[in-house]
Amino acid sequence: MEFAFTQEQEMIRETAAAFLAEVSDSAAVRRAMATERGYEPALWDRVCGEMYWQAIHVPEEYGGMGLGYVELVATMEQMGRFLLCSPFFATVCLAGNALRVAGSKEQQSRWLGQLCEGKLTATLAFNSGSSDWGADAITATWRREGDAYVLNGCYRYVIDGHTADLLVIAAREEDSKGEAGIGLFLLPAATAGVECRWLPTMDQARKQAAVRITEVSVGTEAVMGELGQSWEALARVIDIATIALAAEQVGGCQQLLDMTVAYTSERVQFNRTIASYQAVKHKAADMMLRTEVARSAIYYAACIAQEALEGTALSGELSEAASVAKSYCSDAYFAVAGDALQLFGGVGFTWEYDVHLYLKRAKSSEHLLGNGTYHRERLACSLLD
């Protein structure tokens, strides 16, 4: 039993922090978020070429670094801290994990290979517009026509869906309900009948898209896993991605805390730095508590995600670990962001200061992949029903 970063993991975290502090400062974030694409290709090239993060937890056989989910989570935490604008989450945590969990050897070696080379961005689409992120969120359909499958439907909240090269999409057999009938498909975005449209968002530092699929016909090579039986795999993918998202939230908490301590230590009111007021100190203490507790949640969840990817002893805890982490981290992030804005006072209300970027990320990431209420109800079901 050892629940601390190894030296190597520490190094990965430190390297990520140093790199991002340089390339993802406030000006860089603001440049990227003002574009429709939402990230600067040159920076993404550096991420892929220098840091090799896109390959971080991909097995070496597919050209990846073969590290674990703990390393991914440690990196994701830093991305959240610096609000890195990049297709990392969509490509690696959503689509990449879908390939890891549900892809065949062939699919993995074809697509993960390209992904590791940094040639490809990808994403996952499954929710048609629900705040319930379970199987009922899937309303797109598939039907068999001879050897082919015909897909139809709409998706919302598709992260980087308007720029991704490859889509992993979930659809259900026509007339199926609940967890039955779910299939997962690999679909190049350029396929005819696939329409991806940018949805401008309040949190400009992460882009979302709506995807509409109209009578798209695919062959069996596009099918991931056992058609109609894919909910269990998809649920695992979502849980694993959720843990990465929670890590991003922890990074945001940390940055807000650091910014707030720095600002309140400079700002003078009534001839005292406002950091010397107990009301300010105690709010900061609560921010730190939430941040550290959230961090404990994600490190544990990262270990569980790793086990789930490997199918080892504790895989069965995945759903719980994801819900524990996401419910706590979502609420923590929003509370910390709100407190930060309050302690910055008037300037925190300006576009010029960065607090609002985090406030907006806190709210958007709270609802993405299920908010606290949703995840607590998931926990309640297994505890009480």
């Binding site: 003002a34 429709e36 929710n127 517009g129 629900s130 705040s131 919302r156 909240y157 940018w198 949805l199 401008p200 968002t201 309040m202 949190d203 400009q204 979302q208 700002r267 003078v268 009111q269 009534f270 001839n271 005292r272 730095t273 010397s276 007021y277 009301a279 300010v280 929003f334 709100g338 804005l341 309050q342 006072g345 008037g346 925190g348 209300f349 300006t350 576009w351 010029e352 609002h356 406030l359 907006k360 709210k363 958007s364 609802h367 993405l368 908010n371 209420t373």
Partner: protein, 400 residues
């Protein structure tokens, strides 16, 4: 205690409602529900026309004494007016700083000449005002004024230098009331003056502040030898703090009920969305909506207590008034969060690029300022504890 209004007052209510229904139409239709907090930058010109329309009907400055052009309404009638105004969705008043702040200050502390000079334009809706209190280094420490006023006796002018911030409507306003230091060696609330300054002059520059909404409702105002006449000071040099504090007292008045009616409009919209997207079936959302509803109801009762207490002459501390700002600001901020959570993941989706916020999104972001301006929640709690409960004052620092 009685809850009902007199028959005369109910008649007055009909009169207000009818006038608004008849007049808030045609060219003014598009102003409905616009120009409120978070939206004050919208339609300033059209809203000034509306202000003049109100003046024609005798609906500006309804609480002012008749001798200054007001309607001389009782507190009950003022309550009714502001309620009906908000209920009708009539637009945010571009004249509210003149009517609610500058005017009452001039009435209370001004000279006869100042009254003759400034009040009619406010009543007529032809002259707009903005407020020059906050400064970058001030914030909660309102008395930390660095803007200076120097009397050029030869020219009979005050010359103002410095910077104000968080000034809404500065672009549209004709005048600004400015708190500035007349005694350069003074500190804190001593040695200040309260000036009435015309905005249209070379010594004044207005720069908009971009807010977290992406819009600019507030401004920075820079004074670089900005001028006003020697007699455009309210009270004596050195009285500025007293005058300013008297003014802050006017902020807490009958308009709270109109504000609540706006809150009700917002809450109604949240309820509408919740019913539309199924959030109304979520038991946790139901609790939160019910809580918002209950507290808004109580907010009204609390205001009724405040207003009834004002007519009492015993001068007793009005505890319900002391807690009011903290209560409504926190409520409103919570409503913003509730609105987003009712929308769910849809809360992040804009109406359009580059940054077109929906009404609820704009409300959500804008209400973050409510717990900051006019005394942060933290300052409010200090005031409540110190004035309301007699607990020790916060020590002020010496160096830093």
């Amino acid at each position: 205690m009685k809850l009902s209004f007199s028959p005369e007052d109910e008649l007055f209510r009909d009169q207000v409602a009818t006038w608004l229904r008849d007049n808030l139409a045609g060219e003014f239709e598009k102003l409905k529900y616009r120009g409120g907090p978070g939206d004050e930058h919208m339609f300033p010109a059209e809203r000034q026309v509306w202000e003049q329309k109100l003046a024609e009907g005798g609906w500006t400055c309804v609480g002012w004494p008749r001798e200054y052009g007001g309607r001389g309404c009782s507190i009950e009638q003022q309550v009714i007016f502001f309620e009906e105004y908000a209920r009708a969705g009539a637009p945010g008043r571009v004249g509210h700083i003149g009517e609610g702040l500058a005017g009452p200050t001039i009435i209370a502390f001004g000279t006869e000449e100042q009254k003759r000079k400034y009040l009619p334009g406010i009543v007529a809706g032809t002259q707009l005002w903005c407020q020059g209190y906050s400064e970058p280094s001030a914030g909660s420490d309102l008395a930390n004024v660095k803007t200076r006023a120097r009397l050029d006796e030869a020219r009979g002018k005050w010359l103002l230098n410095g910077q104000k911030v968080w000034t809404s409507l500065a672009h549209e306003a004709d005048f600004c009331f400015v708190l500035a230091r007349t005694d350069p060696d003074s500190v804190a609330h001593k040695g200040l003056g309260f000036f009435l300054v015309a905005m249209d002059q070379p010594g004044i520059e207005v720069r908009p502040i971009e807010q977290i909404t992406g819009t600019s409702e507030f401004n920075e105002v820079f004074f670089d030898d900005a001028e006003c006449r020697a007699d455009d000071i309210v009270g004596e040099p050195g009285d500025g703090w007293k005058v300013a504090m008297g003014l802050l007292g006017f902020e807490r008045g009958v308009s709270t009920l109109g504000q609540q009616m706006q809150f009700q409009n917002e809450l109604d919209e949240v309820v509408r969305f919740a019913k539309g997207n199924g959030a109304a079936n979520d038991p946790v959302i139901r609790q939160r909506i019910a809580r918002a509803h209950a507290e808004l109801k109580i907010m009204r009762y609390n205001s009724l207590r405040m207003l009834s207490g004002q007519s009492a002459s015993d001068g007793a501390l009005q505890k319900e008034a002391l807690i009011y700002k903290l209560f409504w600001a926190t409520w409103h901020r919570t409503l913003g969060e509730l609105a987003m959570d009712v929308l769910g993941p849809e809360c992040d989706i804009l109406e359009g690029a580059p940054y077109a916020l929906s009404r609820l999104q704009s409300m959500y972001l804008f209400v973050r300022s409510d717990t900051i301006y006019g005394g942060t929640n933290q300052i409010q709690r200090n005031i409540i504890a110190e004035r309301g409960l007699g607990m020790p004052r916060e020590p002020k620092g010496t160096a830093r």
